[in-house]
Amino acid sequence: MNSPILEIRALRAGYGPRNVLENISIALAAGEWFVLLGPNGCGKTTLLDCVVSRVIPSGGEIFIAGHSLRRESFAAKRQLGYGCAPDVLPALLTARQCLEVHAAAKGLSVIGDDLLSLADELRFTPYLEAFVDTLSLGTRQKLAVLLALVGDPLLIVLDEAFNGLDPASALLLKRQLRARIEQRGGALLLATHSLDIVEHYADRAAVLIDGKLQHVWPKDELQRLRNAPGDFEAALAAAMGS
């Protein structure tokens, strides 16, 4: 069996004396789209921050494509693409420069044509020369996702990446992401509140409550919920409740 693209083992993390995550273990296989659900403040963003090494965990281990994020950070990060929150993007660089810096940091000599054509399809190309602080929320969100896709990483990590996007762009992006992870044999970890993504795109979903994984829906259970008569959203909410 192939090694998982992302493996989180007994992860614990927090801020100062406050513990946010308790004993989280997840493994994402190749081609898998994993959705992280949960109420506000439950620790979704902290979990993603640990995976992208923006927060140093207080315990546990994270492996990306078999590389330990703590011991082989450089090799692990080469396989990682992170769509940061729009307010983290540097205000005084242009969109072009953000892409160039990310590509250089990943050791690329050229930026792939597929990424440029995606930028074109998202109608992002006219904004390449604009400073980030002059871009609208949706356009910055597109830039954040494009940055995550630079270098065609094995693991894509997105935090509420479809917020502020127009419906057409969001749909295009979801289809592109689905196709990418299937073709590349990668995996996608997404934190979101929108259940339509779980209904139409997710292979597995998990609900995080008070820093603990409360329930993980495997592929077949999600399929059963999709096929069940009635409202998927209500069925999912009921399953979360139980």
Partner: protein, 329 residues
């Protein structure tokens, strides 16, 4: 809630104090240090008499400063309140009037309070030091407080300034646009221009013009235009050094967070960041040396001062960079 704006302002102040971890012990320690300083000053060189002789001048300056500050603050607070989360809360007209008066004049109230505390402390020190002029601090305090109070009243006569929003940081940043079709070339060189852009974003024309005013005020009467221009340029170069230095530190902190998920080598990032900023600082140091020469300072001293400021700037910027990219966990 009878005065929601005031209550919210009070809570914000308390929260800020709590977040900053300001402890009563630290405040008392600072106060003790201040008293010790005042004691030393009272023992060494009495300046109170001189200060009291020029009391009217200080009162006038305090009046102008408080009039401008309060008028601007009123315009800003009015604009803020129009978009505030409390804008729709029902409040009676009389309460709204006095709470906005208190919020608008808050800096003046604080200044008067602090001056009074300082005057009482100073008087006590003078009393213990057995000095004759124990009422001098009160006289000085009275001049200043009257000046501030007059300024507050005068601020209502100042025509209301237009409320202005700060423009996006990039408005004053020069940027050569490339053709949309130009190829994307992976490179970290943009990191080098980031601190310089940040310095431009901070040095907005309005801020620069205000910074020049105190320099002009400091010029002795009879200064020629040439000398004044040279002096402004000298201060300008020092400003450039300070701005670039702070910009390098600020940008490197931000870049460290932004680039945390990518495999950027710290050495590469530092190499990209430093050279352009250091080049600007060296150029500023060289211009500073030339300007000092124009003031008839010797070649050697001019060169030393220029070199020292440039080296100091480069070292501070490098230290900040290293802290965020190498040392900080």
């Amino acid at each position: 809630m009878t005065a929601p704006r005031l209550a919210a302002a009070k809570l914000i102040l308390f929260n800020r104090r709590g977040r900053a971890g300001v402890k009563t012990r630290a405040l008392l320690l600072s106060l003790a240090r201040l008293v010790a300083l005042v004691w030393m000053e009272a023992q060494a060189a009495p300046t109170l008499t001189w200060l009291r002789l020029h009391g009217l001048l200080y009162a006038g300056l305090a009046a102008v400063a408080s009039a401008v500050t309060i008028a601007r603050r009123r315009a800003l607070k009015r604009a803020e309140f129009a978009r505030s989360w409390l804008a729709a809360v029902p409040v009676s007209a009389s309460i709204a009037r006095w709470e906005s008066l208190l919020i608008d004049t808050f800096p003046a109230i604080v200044a008067i309070g602090l001056l009074t505390i300082a005057a009482i402390a100073y008087t006590l020190v003078l009393l213990f030091a057995k000095r004759a002029e124990i009422f001098a601090p009160f006289a000085l305090c009275a001049y200043l407080c009257c000046g501030i109070a007059l300024g507050v009243i005068g601020s209502f006569l100042v025509p209301r300034p237009k409320p202005q929003d700060l423009p996006p940081g990039s408005r004053y940043v020069p940027h050569q646009k490339l053709q949309r079709t130009a190829k994307l070339r992976p490179s970290l060189s943009a990191l080098g221009s980031w601190p310089i852009r940040q310095a431009f974003a901070w040095a907005q024309p309005k801020i620069v013009s205000r910074a020049i005013i105190p320099i002009l005020v400091m010029m002795p009467l009879g200064t020629t235009a040439d000398a004044a221009m040279a002096a402004i340029a000298l201060f300008g170069m020092l400003g450039v050094l300070l701005l670039i230095c702070s910009a390098v530190i600020s940008a490197s902190r931000f870049a460290r967070q932004w680039l945390a998920p990518v495999p950027a080598r710290p050495s590469d990032a530092i190499r990209a960041f430093l050279p352009p900023a250091c080049a600007v600082m060296v150029a500023a140091g060289a211009i500073e040396a030339l300007l000092l020469l124009a003031f008839n300072v010797s070649y050697r001293v001019s060169a030393e001062v220029g070199a020292c400021t440039a080296v100091l700037g480069c070292l501070t910027a490098s230290g900040g960079l290293l802290w965020y990219w190498r040392l900080k966990p």
